[in-house]
C-alpha cells in the first residue's frame, strides 16, 4: 500500500511536469497580454501585469470585434451546413439500400485522402469567376461536403439508430424526411453535437483559404486579422497578444465543455478501422 502511494506521487508528478511544459507557452501568452508593452522585453513575465483592461480596450478600439463577428458568422454557418449535409448523407448511406451505394461510399472515403490544397489554385480562380472573392461563401459552402463528416455520421447512425424505429415511423405513415428529422434525430444527437464541435474548431482555425480569399479588412476572420494587422496596433505587442488570447477563448470553452466527445470523435475512425 505504501509503495503504491509513493508510485502515485511519482507518476502524478511526472504528468504534472509534462503538463506544465505544455501549458507554459499559453501561460506566458496570458501573462504577456496583461503587461505594458515595453515591459514585455524587460524580464520574464511570470505574473499578471496591470494592463489587462487597458489592453482589452486597445484591442477593441482597433475594431477587433469585426474579426470576431466574422469568425462567428463563418464558423457557425459552416458548422450548421456541414453537420446538416453530413447527417442526411450519412443517414442515407447507413439506413437505405440504393444503386451504386458501395461505389459512392468508396468515393467518399477516397476524398478523405485527397489533400484540399491540391485544387487550391483553380479554387481561387473559380471564386473570382463566380464573384465570391471577399465573401464568406467560399469558407462556408465547400466546407459542407467533408468525407470525414459523412463517414462519422454513417458509422454512428449504423450502430446506434435501430432500424425498428424507422420502420415504425413508416408504418405510421410518416414521410422519410419526417422520420429522419423528428424521429431519428433524437438518437443521433450526440454524434451531431460532437461533429459540430469539431467542425466549428476547424472553421475557426482555418487559415490558408481565408488568407487567399479575403483581401478586405472588413471581411477578415480572426487568424487573418491577427496575422495581417501589424499597422493598426503599431508596436503595441501586448495588445496584439491580448487579441490572440481573446481569439482563443471560444476554443477553450468548447474544449472544456466537450473534451470527451471531442476526443472520442477524433479517435473513432482509427480505432474502429
Amino acid at each position: 500500500m505504501k509503495r503504491n502511494s509513493a508510485k502515485t506521487i511519482i507518476f502524478t508528478s511526472i504528468m504534472l511536469v509534462i503538463s506544465i511544459i505544455f501549458i507554459f507557452p499559453f501561460y506566458t501568452m496570458l501573462m504577456m497580454s496583461s503587461q505594458f508593452s515595453e515591459d514585455i522585453y524587460k524580464g520574464i513575465p511570470l505574473f499578471l501585469g496591470g494592463y489587462f483592461i487597458q489592453n482589452i480596450k486597445t484591442v477593441f478600439a482597433a475594431n477587433f470585434q469585426v474579426f470576431y463577428l466574422n469568425s462567428f458568422i463563418v464558423a457557425s454557418c459552416a458548422t450548421i451546413l456541414s453537420v446538416f449535409v453530413s447527417t442526411i448523407t450519412g443517414y442515407s448511406f447507413a439506413k437505405y439500400k440504393f444503386r451504386f451505394k458501395k461505389q459512392l461510399f468508396s468515393f467518399i472515403l477516397i476524398t478523405m485522402m485527397v489533400p484540399s490544397q491540391l485544387g487550391l489554385v483553380a479554387f481561387v480562380v473559380e471564386m473570382k469567376q463566380i464573384g465570391w472573392m471577399n465573401t464568406f461563401l467560399p469558407l462556408i459552402i465547400p466546407a459542407a461536403a467533408t468525407g470525414f463528416g459523412v463517414y462519422w455520421m454513417k458509422n454512428y447512425i449504423e450502430s446506434s439508430l435501430p432500424i425498428e424505429l424507422i420502420e415504425s415511423g413508416r408504418i405510421d405513415g410518416a414521410s422519410e424526411p419526417r422520420i429522419l428529422f423528428s424521429i431519428s434525430l433524437a438518437c443521433i444527437k450526440p454524434a451531431i453535437f460532437a461533429l459540430g464541435m469539431m467542425n466549428f474548431v476547424t472553421s475557426w482555425n482555418s487559415f490558408l483559404v481565408p488568407l487567399v480569399i479575403l483581401n478586405k479588412l472588413s471581411t477578415y476572420t480572426i487568424p487573418i486579422g491577427i496575422i495581417t494587422l501589424n499597422s493598426a496596433y503599431r508596436t503595441d505587442i501586448a495588445a496584439r497578444i491580448m487579441a490572440l488570447v481573446i481569439g482563443t477563448i471560444p476554443l477553450v470553452i468548447i474544449f472544456i465543455s466537450s473534451s470527451k466527445s471531442f476526443i472520442s470523435g477524433i479517435t473513432m475512425g482509427a480505432i474502429k478501422g
Binding site: F22, P25, I88, L120, V121, A122, L211, R234, R240, A270
Partner: protein, 321 residues
C-alpha cells in the same frame, strides 16, 4: 372493404417510392458541393498546370514546362520537399515513441487528475495554428524571447542564441513546435488503443510472473502496432500539408513585419504548401507553376504514403516469419 384495400395498397406504394427516392435526395447536396468545389478545382488545376498564367492575362499553353521547371530548374520546390522530409523524419519517431510512453504513463492507475492532464497535453492541438506560430516566435525571439532569457539566467549561454536566424536551429524550432502540437493527439490515440487491449492478456502475463516493463514490451507495444501504422501514414500526409505555423513563425509578427522572410533563413523552413502559396499568391503570381507545384506535392504524398505503407507491411511480414 374493397375501397379500403385499394387505399391501403396505394399508401404502401407511396412509402416504397419514398424509400427509393429519398436516399438520392439526401446524398445529392454532398455530391453537388463536392463536384463544384472539390473535383472541379482539382481538374481545373491540372489544366492550369500546363499553362503559363499570372491569373489576369490570357493563359499560354506550355505543355509540361512547369513540371520540368520545378523538378530541374527551380531550386525551391525540391528544397521545400526536402525540408518537409527532414521535419517528418525527426518528428514522426519522437511523436510515436513519445505518444506511446505518455499514453502508458497516463493509463497507469497511479496517475491522479487524469482529466486535467489530458486537457493540458491535448490543448496545443486545438489552438489556432496562427497563434502557435506567434507563441513560438515570442518564445524563441533573439532579443526578447523567453527561452534566451531563461538560458542566460541559468548561465548556459553567454549571449542569446539566434534561434530563428540560423537554418538548422530554425528547423529545430519547427520540429519542436510540431511535437508540442501533435504529441497530445498521438497520446490520445494510443491511450484509446491501450484501453481496448483485453485485460486477460495482462492477467495471463501476471500469472507467468512478467514485470511491468516486460508486459509493456511484449503486450502493449505489439497491440499498438496498427494505430502506430495509421499515425505514421497520417504524419506523412499532414507533414506535406504543413503551412500555417511555419509561415506565421517567420512572418515578422513581433518586429512589425520588418523581418518577414519567405521560408525562414535561407528558405530552410520553406514547406511544400508554403512554396505553393508563395508561388501563386505571395511574392510571385504564377498560377500555372503553382498548380504544377500542387500536383508535384500530391505526387510526393502518394509516393511516400505508399513507401511508408510498404515498409510497415514488409516489416510486419518479416517479424511474423
Amino acid at each position: 372493404m374493397n375501397i379500403q384495400t385499394i387505399q391501403g395498397s396505394t399508401h404502401h406504394k407511396k412509402s416504397i417510392d419514398g424509400i427509393k427516392v429519398w436516399p438520392f435526395i439526401f446524398i445529392v447536396p454532398f455530391f453537388v458541393i463536392y463536384l463544384a468545389f472539390g473535383i472541379f478545382p482539382i481538374i481545373y488545376s491540372f489544366i492550369i498546370s500546363f499553362t503559363s498564367w499570372n491569373g489576369f492575362e490570357k493563359p499560354v499553353f506550355i505543355g509540361i514546362q512547369n513540371y520540368i521547371n520545378i523538378f530541374t530548374k527551380d531550386p525551391y520546390f525540391i528544397k521545400s520537399i526536402g525540408n518537409t522530409l527532414i521535419f517528418m523524419a525527426i518528428d514522426t519517431p519522437i511523436l510515436i515513441v513519445g505518444g506511446i510512453v505518455l499514453a502508458a504513463v497516463f493509463n497507469s492507475r497511479m496517475v491522479k487528475f487524469r482529466g486535467a492532464f489530458r486537457l493540458a497535453i491535448f490543448s496545443p492541438y486545438l489552438t489556432i495554428p496562427v497563434s502557435i506560430g506567434i507563441l513560438f516566435a515570442l518564445l524563441f525571439d533573439w532579443n526578447s524571447g523567453i527561452i534566451n532569457k531563461l538560458l542566460l539566467a541559468v548561465g548556459v549561454v553567454d549571449e542569446g542564441i539566434n534561434w530563428l536566424g540560423i537554418p538548422m536551429l530554425a528547423r529545430g524550432v519547427i520540429c519542436l513546435m510540431i511535437i508540442w502540437k501533435y504529441i497530445g493527439y498521438h497520446m490520445i490515440f494510443f491511450n484509446a488503443a491501450i484501453v481496448a487491449i483485453p485485460m486477460e492478456l495482462y492477467e495471463a502475463a501476471d500469472v507467468d510472473g512478467a514485470t511491468v516493463f516486460q508486459k509493456f514490451i511484449k503486450i502493449t507495444v505489439p497491440m499498438l502496432k496498427p494505430i502506430a501504422e495509421f499515425l505514421i501514414i497520417m504524419n506523412i500526409i499532414w507533414g506535406f500539408q504543413l503551412f500555417d505555423e511555419p509561415m506565421v513563425l517567420f512572418s515578422g509578427w513581433i518586429s512589425g513585419g520588418a523581418a518577414s522572410a519567405v521560408g525562414g533563413p535561407g528558405r530552410s523552413c520553406l514547406t511544400a504548401i508554403w512554396n505553393l502559396y508563395d508561388t501563386t499568391f505571395g511574392t510571385q503570381m504564377q498560377y500555372g507553376k503553382g498548380a504544377s507545384i500542387a500536383y508535384g506535392v500530391f505526387l510526393f504524398i502518394i509516393v511516400f504514403a505508399i513507401i511508408g505503407y510498404r515498409v510497415i507491411k514488409g516489416k510486419g511480414k518479416e517479424e511474423n516469419e
